[in-house]
Symmetry: D2
Subunit: 419 residues, 4 copies
Amino acid sequence: MSKEKVLLAYSGGLDTSCILKWLLEKDYEVLCFMADVGQNEDFNAAREKALKIGASEVIIRDMKEIFVEKYVWPAIQTGLVYEGRYLLGTSLARPCISVGLINTAKEKNCTYISHGATGKGNDQIRFELSAYALNPSIKVIAPWRLPEFCERFQGRSDLLEYAKKHGIPVSATTKSPWSMDANIMHISYESGVLEDPGHIAPTELYQMTQNLSNGLDQPTRVEITFNYGLPVRASELLSGKTMERPLDILNFLNKIGGEHGVGRIDIVENRFIGLKSRGVYETPGGTILHCAHHDLEVYCLDREILRVKAFLSSKFSDYVYNGFWFSPEAEFVRKCLVESQQNVCGKVLVEIFKGHVWAISRESIKTVYNQELASMDVHGTTLSPYAATGFIEVNAMRLKEYHRVHGTPNMTKPKFKLF
Amino acid sequence: MSKEKVLLAYSGGLDTSCILKWLLEKDYEVLCFMADVGQNEDFNAAREKALKIGASEVIIRDMKEIFVEKYVWPAIQTGLVYEGRYLLGTSLARPCISVGLINTAKEKNCTYISHGATGKGNDQIRFELSAYALNPSIKVIAPWRLPEFCERFQGRSDLLEYAKKHGIPVSATTKSPWSMDANIMHISYESGVLEDPGHIAPTELYQMTQNLSNGLDQPTRVEITFNYGLPVRASELLSGKTMERPLDILNFLNKIGGEHGVGRIDIVENRFIGLKSRGVYETPGGTILHCAHHDLEVYCLDREILRVKAFLSSKFSDYVYNGFWFSPEAEFVRKCLVESQQNVCGKVLVEIFKGHVWAISRESIKTVYNQELASMDVHGTTLSPYAATGFIEVNAMRLKEYHRVHGTPNMTKPKFKLF
Amino acid sequence: MSKEKVLLAYSGGLDTSCILKWLLEKDYEVLCFMADVGQNEDFNAAREKALKIGASEVIIRDMKEIFVEKYVWPAIQTGLVYEGRYLLGTSLARPCISVGLINTAKEKNCTYISHGATGKGNDQIRFELSAYALNPSIKVIAPWRLPEFCERFQGRSDLLEYAKKHGIPVSATTKSPWSMDANIMHISYESGVLEDPGHIAPTELYQMTQNLSNGLDQPTRVEITFNYGLPVRASELLSGKTMERPLDILNFLNKIGGEHGVGRIDIVENRFIGLKSRGVYETPGGTILHCAHHDLEVYCLDREILRVKAFLSSKFSDYVYNGFWFSPEAEFVRKCLVESQQNVCGKVLVEIFKGHVWAISRESIKTVYNQELASMDVHGTTLSPYAATGFIEVNAMRLKEYHRVHGTPNMTKPKFKLF
Amino acid sequence: MSKEKVLLAYSGGLDTSCILKWLLEKDYEVLCFMADVGQNEDFNAAREKALKIGASEVIIRDMKEIFVEKYVWPAIQTGLVYEGRYLLGTSLARPCISVGLINTAKEKNCTYISHGATGKGNDQIRFELSAYALNPSIKVIAPWRLPEFCERFQGRSDLLEYAKKHGIPVSATTKSPWSMDANIMHISYESGVLEDPGHIAPTELYQMTQNLSNGLDQPTRVEITFNYGLPVRASELLSGKTMERPLDILNFLNKIGGEHGVGRIDIVENRFIGLKSRGVYETPGGTILHCAHHDLEVYCLDREILRVKAFLSSKFSDYVYNGFWFSPEAEFVRKCLVESQQNVCGKVLVEIFKGHVWAISRESIKTVYNQELASMDVHGTTLSPYAATGFIEVNAMRLKEYHRVHGTPNMTKPKFKLF
């Protein structure tokens, strides 16, 4: 009888190489899958390594374009930010890679998929929830959650010893004192020395962005055009260099943002499983796009739609962070958010300089912005200057009535005292 | 019979000087009130001017300390940001000044208060709602909403002519092509050339912050300590310079932020009356404090409390922007927000450089951050590495069931197409 | 020169008859508009009366079908309830009538519309916001907000005297000690004796529903079928009587609900202008439909979609109550809500008896309800009985960590004591 | 060496009796704990049974008063309702019982607690999350999630056989075709024939409430007094019978509600683990209290506070349903909700008849309800009749501007068509 087939999400690193070997020892046939989502990887070397260890096949998919168009662009359009700061670069890549995994598993008749994510992180959840949503009957082998595997490999030294024993090549370079996850949208850094939230992240860590002191000495201005909230064009003012394909736009803005040191954050965040963890991220192009989109959105959207949209956006961010990209709620909320972007069409000029992105002008034919009406210097025709009197009187009435019964609201007392 | 007394919120500028004269012509006795909330004003010159025009008294109150302690500090503590960007510098000053106005009106037996805010803006609403909430029987004269006044003064030239005719001194300097409102927290700029949202704001506009190209060449690191979410200490690392009184902390951070060009935004916002308007703001110290507070908050707060707190905070921001600082809802929501800050105690180290503020480390004894538990390198004791298997299985079940009935959620279709 | 034309929303009652005459005295040409939205009115008598007073034309539109299909049905579909109780019968009729008014004004070249709503109520706002949204250049004459009119007519006796003087026929029956507003969805009662919220509403007030003591002695069971959240069929089980057109369904359920005394509420509510007012409502058919829809919705919708939908529904209810049926936010939120109803297809059996409606069974092919999975008696295959262990362990971890730092959450202290 | 001690939440039924025996076989010393939260149980018989099987001790705690005062009363005060219908009778009892369990485990030096809840339900989660929150180091044995136990006991017949073999007395009466959970607040029914949501629940099922056809023939009127949102007095109008202790009030209202058939619901709900399940509930007194509280709350609360409060209340309901009564978020949100009730003081008169509860009058000195101001018959002094003109004009402006750019909002199109 033929062996059962496992499709392993392979990175080329120590962990997944050992997992590959271990799965072979468990008598599976193992195929390796690598998604190119823009990480800086020597895919050929990784392929050689996997085949050498015993993989029966290594499938490498270039998913950069799909990742940008189907995941990053919608994230910009819907304004995704987790806990006010994190632009979700890793969270967005996971469902994308999962699609690659599940599709490949189907093509290659694999009953199982396997990955090297640990039992405390978000990525195991994002991979597996995506996988189950796409194919409920898929089976998952997560070695870092198997007692047998965990007991055998209690730390890095056990992995190194196992690798040595089985002739698995180990990179000569010393392991960096943190781990990183990269794709075309961002690089995240965590673990190791970063686990102490009071430890300042070393500046040599960053790979996509310059340190501010080495950044360009002149600001760069880029005009970004959006259609229905999606970026459709980015044009550098000085050179006139212009990009229109999503992947080109993101690469272009990554380069500009990188040269100016844009998009670094150093945060503590709440993982889905309830832990707090510290992460350092750099998202140069995404930060520029997010800033421009936000500016245009407030310019174009009706105030009340903006309020509801902000609520929906925060829900969607949580869904995506927690691994529910493929879920009924994400599908629903995303449709609503896309609908909210109907009028988010126009251009924003952003200035990028020294780690800073700044919208400095904007235009749209879809906005209700009315320069004459807004003008403080014109009495105007749409709104009588006297109308506000009644507006204020009506709004004040509730406050007066409250005062009649309860006195002035107490806004000065609870100073340092807590109730 | 004695004349009715009006207390006029006086600025010393052309508008309120003409209003002062006009009120006198209408046979009121007029007292002038000036609140020093940190604007850079020659209060003595303004006093002389008002008395010369005919004010029977000019009352000047130093409200800087009250403003910082009772308005700015709570705003930092409760995380107030309007439409994702504006730190509400003007919105917070209005109720503070209104308290000064109403208290002075009471002391001086004034039946009326008056102000020079126009009929399209937010400030008329903020002044008057605060005034009515504090004293429901106060009467308000808002000349820019009176047909008689508006017909007489159709534009700036009418005011200038009136001033000339009545010997009201007019500043020799040409009017700047925008208007500004300053206090110790921020300066806002609007009107004039800024009314075109596509017009780039001139760099000479800014008064609190350096242009980035002139900013300091070395980053500054400041450690900020919070107690219950309120800033209680700011210490510059290099010099050891340390401030503890709120007013001192804000001045200190304004200086540092100003030298680094921190806290400029250029935005379109939605006014309470439903207009969109363009404003340019600089809030150096406030931006630093907000950044540090946000970092500590995520570090210290339980994830679920953070979610609810974010919702409440956005409500409170709207209340404050719209003029409802003194309202039952603001009182209630603020109490809830203060309660949420019970564990927001600790220190954040921020780096300030080239317009950028960045939390780089933090510590607190109130956080549940657990370095060992978070560590990817330790199997840990609090959480079994196997627990996540069941967690994922349960979470996946809803997705599998949805797939059973409805197939995979459609997350790829609504690309550019709108429904 | 020809006179300016006013289209008056005419009711046939004392107020609008006097307004009609008054407008004629002001030298307008006045046309009267009556929308038949199911109120029990003698439209021909009203027409005669208006023509006799001097209206140049009386336009009566049967809007019952439009009202039910375009306003009531969407309200059921989107689950509209104001402040937890009021099904918005009047609020929904106002924009419908406004469409009739604005269209007729256009056809008849009227520059103005006019209505008899008072200056403290919601209806003036609903009429006028709808009118302006549909035709921003329409002009509105609201006599009850004109000083000239209010001074002339200080109370009902002034109106009676004016009617007598101008030969306006006045109904012989004494005015009931409350006012009412009726349409095919509901009747509302307010004013007069009801203004004291402590005064028990007299039982003779109700016109659509039986008092419970006179209700039928046997329960009625009706099966209601929904498609995308919209009622498409109602079938009485015993008689087999079945309705499929929206207007027929509503009439049918009004009859059944009325015989059983269903759908009465007696509440205090918050008006848009900030007042609290007391209203008594009877909404027999709407209550049955709402109950059935709610039951099917929870049965069919994904849990997380249900949560977001509930939030959106409460926003939409506020919009509609406040007069913003025709607004960008209502358009947006309604689209989202309609999208949420994609799977709300199926049947609900409701029992109606003695003022009570009760869903007693339901079926749908769109639900993910899984009888085998839900069964407590079957170990099941989709979900391993052991999975919950890990699920609980992960969820408990956050609580344990909180306990480690802060102890047990204090859920017992704040008993009667307020902070 | 002495045996490890387990404290078993014992019910006296077949499942926990078998679990008791099984734990003894596993060589534990087993103590049994029973909380009297008002279920109709022969506690002495259960004690005898447990001792006979081999329990070393049976601890029975009367927790009725604690349950009502610390759990039911706060739930009324904070307005808890799950998914719009379920008053959370079981969800509230679980943390209460858990306090009893954990306290007793501590007193008796038990290292373990154990319970008979199954692996698909909510109760296992509620028990265990409460237990871990109260004592993070407690250990839990949940036999229905242990493979060994589940394999041995695959169905009821295995339990019966085991009972017979070990001389465990089995109730002679046939098992009812559903399961039930009772306490002083409610009885819930689920499982068995109820698992088919299309199956109509048999009328003989209900134990707390009369069928409507057997209900009293005259309505009962009860005046309920609240202080800070908590019920402090209930008085039957006709008899004058009055209760003031929470437990007495609830018993009293249960009796009245029961006689009138009040508080039955038949619903499908979403369990925490993501399943949908069908439950039938009867909550007579709780339904009356909830209705009265809701009425008084809208009467007393400021409109804007009411909106925020409703949001918080729905969050708290989810927390409680999901087992997070003892959690940081529940502690926080509850404090906010209690704060919102500051003015919810006063009386509501409710009429109870034929399954229906209906607030018919209310009074409070804390409300801002202003009869004169609300009156449609009085022009009034607080609010000028002309103020609404400006209020409407300002509100209309945003709609007019939207119309200028985008035309009338489309509220008629998306009829049956989905996007």
